[in-house]
Amino acid sequence: MKCRLRLGSIAILLMFPGAALAHRLDEYLQATRLSLALDRLVLKIDLTPGVEVAPVIFARINTNRDGRISAAEGRAYANQVLNEIVIEMDGRKPHLDLVRSEFPTFEEMRAGVGTIRIEARTTWTLAPGTHWLLFRNNHRHDCGVYLVNALVPVSPEIEITAQQRDPLQREIRVGFRRSGFCAVFRASADRHFFPGPFQFRMTVIRRGVVSSTTALIRNRSPSPLA
């Protein structure tokens, strides 16, 4: 077993041997979905400790040791998880804000069926062109097993062009592109976001050559994943 157990945790485990029959044992499953939107990135993270690591994780969250996870304890743990997640967008590191967190009971965690749910987001204004996003989860890599996936964006303006993961799925690099067509019309009232090349794109679009516009934007910011 990878996660370190304290003596007290082992004692708890020995008290409930039946729990070990059904689900996760010494793994801490950490599943993340990345949702890319025009104005934000949303992360939904599901954390499911196995039967044998649940006492360790619970003890880490339940800092006052009263057997229940208070709202403050939950927020503190969720923020710790977020602090151990690396996000880079085109080389910049945006700040992740905790949106919500939900915690199961200790009994559910002890049975291997309790999932901690964390939602976080960062806001951005996604410029037309190609981009790349790096996500890396450094939380409890001593016992963590990982899933990370990018969802198909709701906005038709965003297209995911590449996904590269490490063998353990702790890290993913997502290449994606925002098409310029709708963005240009949206940006017409806010031109300071689009210096120089924007004027050229407008000209091209007026001539009805939308595909050429997209090609121009691609060339401005080549994807490192290409």
Partner: protein, 356 residues
């Protein structure tokens, strides 16, 4: 990672529901040769028959409104857990709270909506969970709320059974969630979950592998691909669980793997045969319609694989197309505990058929 090892399975002695469940394969199903409309009429009739066996209290528990909240209450988890929907109990009533006559009527309703093979698969999953209950109960803490076994499978009817209006049948427990949306003549099985633990056991003197065909057909397919196709299909990272389980309605991940447009006719036939293990759970006429739909978009479907390609190994696979998403995920790197999920990215709960 450590894989839990079971001791010898407890000898299965007295199973109160054995008779009715074992007879499942012989239960009348509407599928073969029946039209879609006939399948709906049989489901409506079976639902009304079941409801007629219940008193007012049980009927009010079984019959629930059909809405976004009620339909999303399903799970792979056993009784005693808080489900992904936030609920602490499945919809409806559990078999353990029904009389033998009521149980018979409940299972007849399930059988009426499924193919004979699909119903047998469901019964095999139920029997696997009963085996798990017999194995785990002796060492379970008295305070534990976790329960497995046949008695913990729930049946619910969302909306009013109707040949014209939308309604749903839910039947599920640990490792099983059937969500069958009926809209006029259409029967939609997505989203649904099948799973098993143990994956290979003896019941009534017969060896049972509830998801054995899924496993064997998938390994046959990956080994039928040429080197280039297999390289494209193989994900270069481990996948230790499903992505699109309960609680993930409406989430569609980016497709990965090899595109089926690169498959030859024999490989396409193998893939369709594999897909039918899930699609074919529902009655034959509804399954045929769904298979035809999948076939029209087969070229845009992807097949992805993670893990060894020798049958008997622990490997994850995914089939992902415009109208189908199937995941098969062995748990904890072993082969004795399997989760699978079957979705339609655009038509879960019959979304295309139900006007908001």
């Amino acid at each position: 990672m450590k894989i839990h090892q079971y001791g010898p399975l407890v000898v299965l002695l007295s199973f109160p529901l054995t008779a009715s469940l074992s007879q499942g394969a012989a239960a009348p199903a509407p599928g073969r040769g029946a039209s879609v409309e006939e399948a709906t009429l049989k489901a409506v009739s079976a639902a009304k028959t079941f409801l007629a066996t219940l008193d007012d209290r049980l009927r009010s528990k079984v019959s629930l409104p059909l809405n976004a909240k009620t339909r999303a209450n399903w799970s792979n988890l056993p009784t005693g857990a808080t489900f992904q929907s936030g609920a602490t109990e499945r919809n409806g009533v559990k078999l353990g709270d029904l009389t033998p006559v009521q149980q018979e009527a409940a299972l007849a309703l399930v059988a009426a909506t499924l193919s004979p093979g699909g119903y047998q698969k469901v019964i095999n999953i139920v029997n696997a969970d009963e085996t798990l209950e017999r194995t785990s109960a002796p060492t379970r803490a008295a305070s534990s709320r976790t329960r497995f076994g046949r008695a913990e499978f729930y049946v619910a009817i969302l909306g009013a059974p109707s040949a014209t209006q939308a309604w749903m049948i839910q039947f599920g427990g640990h490792h099983l969630a059937l969500n069958i949306t009926v809209v006029g003549g259409q029967n939609v099985l997505t989203p649904s979950h099948t799973g098993t633990q143990p994956s290979n056991f003896t019941f009534d003197g017969k060896s049972v592998r509830p998801l054995g065909s899924e496993n064997d057909k998938a390994f046959a397919l990956i080994n039928a691909l040429d080197a280039t196709q297999r390289k494209q299909a193989t994900l270069d990272y481990q996948v230790r669980d499903v992505v699109a389980g309960p609680g993930h309605d409406g989430e569609v991940i980016q497709p990965e793997g090899v595109r089926v447009s690169a498959f030859n006719p024999a490989q396409r036939a193998m893939l369709l045969d594999l897909i039918k293990e899930w699609v074919g759970i529902v009655n034959d006429s509804a399954a045929a319609a769904k298979m035809a739909e999948i076939q029209t978009k087969l070229a845009d479907t992807y097949f992805a694989w993670s893990g060894p390609t020798t049958n008997g190994s622990s490997a994850y696979f995914r089939i992902h197309g415009p109208t189908v998403m199937i995941e098969y995920a062995p748990q904890r790197g072993g082969t004795d505990h399997i989760h699978t999920f079957y979705r339609d990215p655009g038509n879960d709960y019959g979304a295309k058929l139900i006007k908001p």
